[in-house]
Assembly symmetry: C2
Homo-oligomer: 146 residues x 2
Amino acid sequence: MPNNQFKRGELYSVINGMASTAVARRLQKNFRLAGLEITIEQWSVLYHLWKEDCLSQQELCTRTFRDKPSITRLIDNLEKQKLVKRMASKSDRRINLVCLTDAAKVLQDQTIELANQTMNEALIGVNKDEIETVKAVFQRVYDNLT
Amino acid sequence: MPNNQFKRGELYSVINGMASTAVARRLQKNFRLAGLEITIEQWSVLYHLWKEDCLSQQELCTRTFRDKPSITRLIDNLEKQKLVKRMASKSDRRINLVCLTDAAKVLQDQTIELANQTMNEALIGVNKDEIETVKAVFQRVYDNLT
DNA sequence: TGAAATTAGTTGCATAACTAACTATATGCC
DNA sequence: GGCATATAGTTAGTTATGCAACTAATTTCA
């Protein structure tokens, strides 16, 4: 493959390695420094509920790219921390609607601000076109594999 | 921020979300379909040992971007599967050198080929310049945060 | 209508991640 | 030499992930 000399194997570690690990650790650290006890995984669930409250667990699976057991347990933990509540759907008794509590609503602005700050730190020296390229490539990769 | 209208919070999920999850799942699935019983995390350790055998656990931490407990347990599991062996360093008795067994050496070509194929699937329709941009951005993000 | 297939969610098991606290060895420095 | 400090690795506890197997409710369709 004369026109493809970069090592594809290396690319796996680019996509799954250092950068995403570093960003996740920094964001978790920034939450902790702010006295927030939530994990970044829990935050990513809340993030979607802030955009649209009372989603089904299946819908949260789709939006957060997780499988059903992962969401079940994330919701279990969020419920223990009184950040969400499972409400039975009236139209379909199989469905749990996951709704925010007041305690979770209070966290929205602060945590999103922390996420924005973290990404600002992470993206120093990266321009907007480069960011758009990364987003487009990642969307393409996702579409290719699903 | 008139010149920065993209949502930074969204970028967290770009870097840590769908694409890396999808690639990891696909690579794991391709290992499984080929009858290989190793996890992608174990594979990433072996990958560095194929490049340079008999590294210390600390060196593996650095190269795989993991912390020490993670490497301890990955090596525990790799040792159970007889893919690596801990050897005492002669110059420094604190150090374990982690060395490949013959069984692990046999896996090198096959698994790297599977990783290359997986990345080829993932990167259909993505050109070389875009890949270089992703790599550069991720290196920059990593450098910014460490 | 009623059996088969689909969908929503849970549980069990194995692996892996992070933090904090720990042991053992090596190094620095007075 | 000997004490303080740093480094290599392990252990314990909590959270998260993936897969497979499971229950319960709903939909399909003959």
